[in-house]
Symmetry: C2
Subunit: 348 residues, 2 copies
DNA sequence: TAAGAGAACTTAATCGATTTAGTCGCGTAA
DNA sequence: TTACGCGACTAAATCGATTAAGTTCTCTTA
C-alpha cells in the first residue's frame, strides 16, 4: 500500500519547499524553468493529484452539488438525476445524493449534514411530509447561509430560490386535446385529490382542453384517488367502477400506474384500445413504452429538467456572490409520445 | 446572510481560546464546568455544527462512500442504490454517486476524482466497456492506496476486493424449475451471448433445471441475443421467429424486456398465457408487476444487495487498517414471485 | 562601489477543526 | 520558603493545499 503523494512529500523528496512545488505545478513564473520541469516530471511520474478535501477547505468551495429527493426507485427522479449528473460532470461538479424517503425529518437531517461544508448548493424536490407540514426552516437556514437552492418538480412557495417545473397543465392539455382531435368526446380523467399539486394542475389542463373544444366538463367523469404513487386495492376498485359505469371513449390518467390499471379494466370489459376507448397518461416511462398496447404518454423530459436545474445552480455558484438576487421559475416543456393506445389524428 | 459559526468566531465572541471551545464542546474535563456550560449554551443557541470538510481533512476520513454505476435510469441499480443509501445513512455515511454511462474513460475519471480525498471507499459495478477492455488499473490503483472496494453485480476477477453477487444460476434454476413443476416440458430460454456473464450464468441455471428433471436440453430452444439492455428491431424479430417456430409450452427470459416482448408475440399468435405457454423472467421490476398478464419473476433483491455491499464496505472502513486482508464473495439469494404468467404448482 | 532591481526561493498565514505540549497561578506539603 | 502538583487554560502543530510577504543572491547601473 503506497501513501498518496502530497506537496509535502514531493518537496521533501526533491529538497525544495512546499510552496515551490505548489507554484511549479501551477506554472508560476516565480519558479525557474529548470526546477519547474523537474517538479512537474516527478509529479507526473508518480501521478500526483491534489487532495480535494484540502482544496475545498482552502477555497471554501467543494464543487459538489447536494441532491435531495423523496425516492430514488422511481423512473422520473432517476431521469432527473441523470440530467443533473451530466450537467454537473461537464462543469466539474460532483453530485451527492440523499434520499428523504418522503420523510420530513430525514430531509432536514440530510440538509443539515450536507450544509456543513459538504456541498456548495442544493437541488431538491421536497418530501410529501414537508409539504404537509409546511415547515421550511431547513431551507431558509441553508439559503440564509448563502447556499443557493434550486427546487424542482415538487416545489413550494415563499422560498428564496430558483424553481424548475414541469408544465403540468399544458402537458395534460396536450394529451387530452390529442384525444379529442382523434375523435373522443366523452373523456374521463383519473387524477388525484387537489391537494397534490401535480394532480390539481393536470386536472386543470384536462378541463382546459375540454373547454377549448367546447366540450362540457362533467364532474362524474373526474375520478380523484388519494394516492398518486401507489395503487391500493381500494383505488383499483374505484378505477374499475369508474370505467365500467361511465360510457367513456377516452381516459386520461395523471400517471402510468393508473393508466396500466385502466388498460387492464378496459381489456376485461371486452373493449378495444384505442378503437372503443383511447388511453393517454402523464409520464412517459417504462410502463407506457412496453405495455400492451403501448400507451400514448405525455413525456416529462426529466433529464432536461435535471440539466436545467443543475445549470441554474452552477450558474449561481459561479457568479459573483454579491450579485443581485433574482429567482427564476423555469417550465420544462412536455411532449406527446404517440403510441398504440390512441387513434391517429387525421390532419387536414 | 449570516456566516456559519466556527470555533474561531465562538472563541472570539466569548473571549477564550479556540482550543478551549473545542474541548468544551467535546466535554473535556480540562475545562471548568462553568466555562463549558457557557460555551455549550452559546453553541447551541447559535446552532454551531462543525465543518465537515475541516473534520475530514483533520481525520483523513470523509465518511463518504463513492458509488460508481453504469447507469441510473435502471430499476435494478436504483434499488441497489436505495439499499446502499439506507445502510450508509444508518452508519453516518454519505453517498456520492457517479455514473460511468458504461464508458471506460468516465469510470476511470470518476474514480480518480473521488479517490483524491472525496471518499473513503468504493462500491461499484463495472461498466461494459471496462469488462471488454479488461483494463482494471484504476481499480488496482485505488486499492493500492488503501481504499477498500466492493464490487457488485458486474464483477471482475483478479481484483483484491469484496464481491456481492446475485446468484444468477440458482435464480434461473428456480424459475425454470417452477415452470417444469407446473407442467411445462418444452421450455425455451431467451438469453444473451455467453460473454455477458449474467446471461451465461442464467443459461447455466436453465440447463441445470432441465437436467434435474431429466429433460433433454435442445440448442434450438436457446435464443442468444446480443444486447441485454436494449431491444433492437432485429432482436424483436428474432424473438418472434423463435416463439413462432418452436412449439414451446414455456419461455424463460433473462430480463423483463425480453419477456414483455415475448408476451406480446405469444398474444399475437393467439395463444394464452399461461394456459398454452408459461412465461417467467429474471428481474422483478415494474414491468413484471404491471404487465398484462403480470409476470412471474425471479426477484433479485437489489436493496438487500446494496445494503450488504455497503455494510461490507463500512466494516472494512471501521476495522483496524492493518487487519489481515481477506476478501469475501457474498451471494444474494433470489426469490420467485409468482404471478399470472405461470400455472399453479399443485403440491402433493 | 553602493544601492536598486529582479530572479528564485522560502516562510508563514490561512481555511476549520483536533490534540499534544506548554503556561500560569494557587494551594499544599516538606 | 521553596518546590511540587494540579486545575484551567492557551499555544502551537497538524491535516494538504494556496499565496502574500519575506529572504537571498546576483547583476546592473549611476
Amino acid at each position: 500500500m503506497k501513501r498518496k503523494l502530497t506537496l509535502k512529500s514531493i518537496a521533501k523528496e526533491l529538497g525544495v519547499s512546499i510552496s515551490t512545488v505548489s507554484k511549479a505545478l501551477r506554472d508560476s513564473p516565480e519558479i525557474s524553468e529548470e526546477t519547474r520541469e523537474k517538479i512537474k516530471a516527478y509529479a507526473k511520474l508518480y501521478n500526483y493529484k491534489p487532495n480535494n478535501i484540502a482544496l475545498s477547505l482552502k477555497n471554501r468551495k467543494t464543487n459538489t452539488i447536494g441532491v435531495i429527493i423523496p425516492q430514488i426507485v422511481h423512473h422520473f427522479f432517476t431521469t432527473v438525476i441523470y440530467g443533473i449528473e451530466q450537467e454537473a460532470r461537464e462543469n466539474n461538479y460532483n453530485v451527492i445524493i440523499c434520499l428523504s424517503n418522503n420523510a420530513f425529518d430525514k430531509e432536514v437531517l440530510n440538509m443539515e449534514l450536507l450544509a456543513n461544508g459538504s456541498t456548495d448548493g442544493f437541488i431538491l424536490s421536497v418530501s410529501k411530509e414537508t409539504m404537509m407540514k409546511e415547515d421550511y426552516h431547513h431551507l431558509n437556514e441553508v439559503i440564509d447561509q448563502g447556499m443557493p437552492v434550486v427546487m424542482f418538480d415538487r416545489v413550494v412557495e415563499g422560498i428564496q430560490c430558483d424553481r424548475v417545473l414541469i408544465d403540468d397543465k399544458a402537458g395534460a392539455k396536450k394529451g387530452v386535446s390529442h384525444m379529442i382531435r382523434s375523435g373522443c368526446r366523452k373523456i374521463g380523467i383519473i387524477t388525484s385529490e387537489d391537494y397534490v399539486s401535480v394532480g390539481r394542475l393536470r386536472t386543470e389542463g384536462y378541463l382546459d382542453a375540454l373547454d377549448d373544444f367546447g366540450i362540457k366538463a362533467d364532474d362524474n367523469l373526474i375520478l380523484k384517488l388519494d394516492n398518486i404513487d401507489d395503487l391500493s386495492d381500494k383505488s383499483k376498485k374505484r378505477i374499475e367502477d369508474f370505467i365500467t359505469n361511465n360510457d367513456l371513449d377516452g381516459v386520461f390518467t395523471v400517471n402510468e400506474l393508473f393508466a396500466v390499471h385502466a388498460s387492464r379494466v378496459i381489456n376485461a370489459l371486452g373493449k378495444k384500445i384505442p378503437d372503443d376507448i383511447s388511453l393517454v397518461c402523464f409520464t412517459d416511462g417504462q410502463l407506457s413504452e412496453h405495455a400492451v398496447p403501448s400507451l400514448t404518454a405525455v413525456s416529462q423530459h426529466g433529464e432536461e429538467m435535471g440539466r436545467k436545474a443543475a445549470s441554474i445552480l452552477i450558474n449561481k455558484l459561479e457568479s459573483a456572490e454579491d450579485e443581485e438576487e433574482e429567482y427564476s421559475t423555469t417550465y420544462i416543456d412536455t411532449s406527446l409520445v404517440e403510441r398504440e393506445s390512441t387513434k391517429e389524428v387525421t390532419r387536414r
